[in-house]
Assembly symmetry: C2
């Protein structure tokens, strides 16, 4: 039968698991008539992050029986550990602070970062509907507490979720979803295969219940044989919302050999390419899969996503990034993520030093006090009383460093950065320079963060067939498993926007 995987062979060799093996054979042959479905739902959603919950809630509100499957033991994938900043143009915080923004500027910023690789119709759709997605999260009970700015955005437009993390959106949405009659969010349930009928229409999925994710497996889709196979019918459709593959050491390295196996990732251990690869087997069209983003806001002094970005977002915006080797600034602290990651890697690889991101006490006051305490407690941010102390700690040439700070402070006054073109307008800096002790410093290094490519979709979140160039009936996708929205570079705060908006659009199809 078609492309039987090594895992299936293992299954078949499991003595006593004859029925398992048999069902697996049928599933792989994907002959609908041979499949005895164990369950039946209107809609099956794969993944319980921003995209999955947005699709699930939207479809459920329309009266559909929705099953969301999540392979991990906990809900929310990367969404629940991310920074919780949601890029929305014309949001309530911008209105309060009198910041002018527009759909056109939003699109312009996304396309500029995308380097011409964005699919324009998807960006247009995102801009048209992102405000609806923002409202959807509020209807589910999400609360937002302040406005943030990420590199590459012309104006601050990031709404920060309560609890300063994506959990502030995931928790209320998953509760909202699970409170709806006839819907279920099932953990430890992993997709193995997508089932199509004879016309090529997607009619269900083969999954494993009670699946035990093995974080030691380089890619759980290969070595891991846990769980019990089940066939689930999806009467109206299947939504793929399983995220990206930043933790898939084999697949990410095949795309970009520069990504060493030991390069850390901000992602949760389950971020692998399995579902994407199953989609390709039923003819989904791959798009820009080799574009992988590393997050320049990360710290070498903690594992994974950690808490560094809570500090570095502010220190990039209000402070400076300095090389301890030269005592000089290294680049535009508000450049897009690719540019910043490239120069952080350069400093580490060529000069052998981690760049230092630093800000003064005025900037630090922009952080939630408990967060400022946290980053110091875990040891990724250090506090200093003087420039001398900083230079001493990092063996930095003091005179050069003092000159760098003096110059930068003048640039802030002038609202102009002649060296690197950082946007220093009052809207951005609030007039903060680098002058009032105590000072806060963090070492920075990029970590594998987001995979821009994936399956090709229409503006209605329908998965496009590479055979027909038309939608594959019954198959939808949203979020990081799709490609084309962000092009070459995803801007900070745009993952939440992308996932929630296209998840909502996917759900509207049912």
């Amino acid at each position: 039968m078609a492309n039987m995987s090594r895992r299936d062979m293992l299954k078949m060799s499991m003595i006593g698991a004859g029925t398992l093996a048999l069902s697996s054979v049928n599933a792989n042959a994907k002959e609908a008539k041979d499949v005895k479905f164990d369950e039946e739902w209107d809609v099956v959603v794969v993944g319980s992050g921003f995209a999955g919950l947005s699709a699930g809630v939207t479809a459920a509100k329309k009266g559909n029986k929705v099953l969301i499957i999540e392979k991990m033991g906990r809900v929310g994938g990367n969404s629940v550990i991310n920074g919780g900043v949601f890029g929305v143009w014309g949001n309530d915080f911008q209105e309060k602070e009198g910041i002018k923004d527009s759909k056109e500027l939003y699109i312009k910023d996304i396309l500029k970062a995308g380097g011409g690789l964005n699919h324009p119709e998807l960006v247009e759709t995102l801009a048209d509907r992102v405000r609806d997605a923002y409202q959807l999260t509020k209807d589910c009970g999400a609360k937002y507490i302040m406005l943030k700015l990420h590199g590459g955005h012309s104006v601050p437009r990031g709404a920060l979720a309560e609890s300063d993390s994506g959990a502030g959106i995931i928790r209320p949405m998953s509760k909202f979803f699970q409170d709806i009659d006839g819907c279920e969010l099932r953990r430890k349930c992993k997709l193995d295969h997508i089932i199509t009928d004879e016309s090529g229409k997607v009619i269900g999925v083969e999954v494993r219940d009670e699946y035990q994710f093995d974080k030691d497996a380089q890619n759980d889709d290969k070595e891991n044989t846990s769980g019990t196979t089940k066939f689930i019918k999806a009467k109206k459709g299947v939504v793929l919302a399983s995220g990206g593959f930043s933790r898939d050491k084999h697949f990410r390295k095949a795309q970009d050999p520069r990504i060493a196996d030991d390069l850390d990732s901000t992602n949760h251990p389950g971020a692998t390419a399995g579902v994407l690869l199953e989609a390709l087997k039923v003819g989904a069209e791959p798009v820009q899969v080799s574009w992988i983003q590393s997050l320049p806001l990360s710290s070498p002094d903690e594992k994974g996503y950690g808490v560094s970005s809570a500090f570095t977002h502010e220190s990039f915006r209000f402070g400076i990034i300095v090389s301890p080797k030269t005592g000089k600034r290294y680049g535009n602290e508000l450049a897009n993520r690719k540019i910043q990651a490239d120069y952080e890697f350069k400093s580490k690889n060529e000069d052998g030093v981690y760049l230092l991101s630093m800000c003064d006490s005025k900037a630090a006051a922009e952080m939630l006090p408990e967060k400022l305490e946290k980053v110091q407690k875990v040891g990724i941010v250090k506090k200093f009383d003087s420039l001398e102390d900083i230079a001493k700690e990092y063996n930095m040439p003091l005179d050069e460093f003092k000159k760098t700070v003096a110059n930068y402070n003048q640039y802030v006054k002038d609202e102009k950065d002649p060296e690197f073109g950082k946007n220093l307008s009052k809207d951005i800096t609030k007039g903060y320079d680098f002058s009032v002790a105590p000072f806060y410093v963090s070492r920075v290094i990029p970590k594998v963060h987001h995979t821009m490519g994936g399956v090709n979709i229409t503006p209605k979140a329908e998965v496009i067939s590479a055979d027909t160039n038309k939608p594959i009936p019954g198959l939808y996708a949203a979020g990081e498993i799709t490609g084309g929205v962000h092009g070459a570079v995803r801007l900070g705060s745009m993952a939440i926007a992308d996932c929630l908006t296209f998840g909502m659009i996917a759900g509207e199809n049912f």
Copy 2:
């Protein structure tokens, strides 16, 4: 059954074609036991270009019954229309001309152009075996006539095939192959599906005999229903050597939306993504599929590949590229293809003018006389007696242009280009400046030329499974359908090297 394509549906609806429909169903289900094979061979090779013929000849020389299928009416795909320059380090022409080259320098040049995306083990293998592939073509009767230099190479290392085209290699190799008893090269025979057995091993192909390629179909894998379905068993394996997708308007645009449908391509009309997409359905791992190269050596004054490169190779090396708007040089005439294509697009899109590539009569004498005549006859190269005439023809500021020429001629004398860092060592320029009339000028624009990405392979040309990260038993690939050898940028003359070397390696497996 698995991902039945719209074409299959059409087939099934063809009344009276009941057997056809039935066989098609079985093939799609890919249950080996259901397939009644019409033919049996040791090895089936898909594609008759450099990679396919190299694999076919190598396997045939080892005593295998080999079938090469070619979907088009003529043999050789892009290979037979290309420039015929084969990049081989330490070749006989280099020895004659006393040019020092090495495996290490060869690898260094490839990796530099690849921007860190090359798969190092594949580059290493290419460098190890490329000289064997060069010898293989000579054993088949190919002849080489002179040494060429392409941008991005540290030294001239391109052996130019007789007839100044890839046909000089393809013709003798296809004759050599077809003269071997028990082997066949079958035209108008198209791959529809790859057939696997229950273990996932590739055991054959579903093809269409008497297939009529329709060059009006945007992608012949979709609209085209011509031909008669046949099932062909491959006892030892299938080699995919079907090339790239530069003419696949939908798929190339999905990867890079900047590639407008009306942007011309140097490729033959059959260069589509069909076979690559079938490989993904049996679990082949995609690599760097979004990296697409446009050829900066092309002319807006002829269609397709044409004959322009015969002139521009020499005018890039020995001459200058000037903007008619400013009369100034625009960049390094020997930069890699991406850099050159980027600035040609920039001039056209931002300044609204085609850049001019020009050389003097000393440089023109490096071309085969009949070629120099040809490019003038088809009207892509114009001949001028003076700088004044050139400036007049293209409305170029004469004084600036004269200054540009004077400066360049001084740089050649100094063997140093302070403006753009073009390599002007005597090895490269032979001391030719831009001074002796008549002068020759061609307008230049990039055309879609090569797709760097494709399926992932091992150094033995085995296709890697995305399910197991190990080779898919019975499936091999070589040439443009694979990814990882060239990374971000393929250097000129390295397509022939890649295709012939990995084709040969694929054939050695049987």
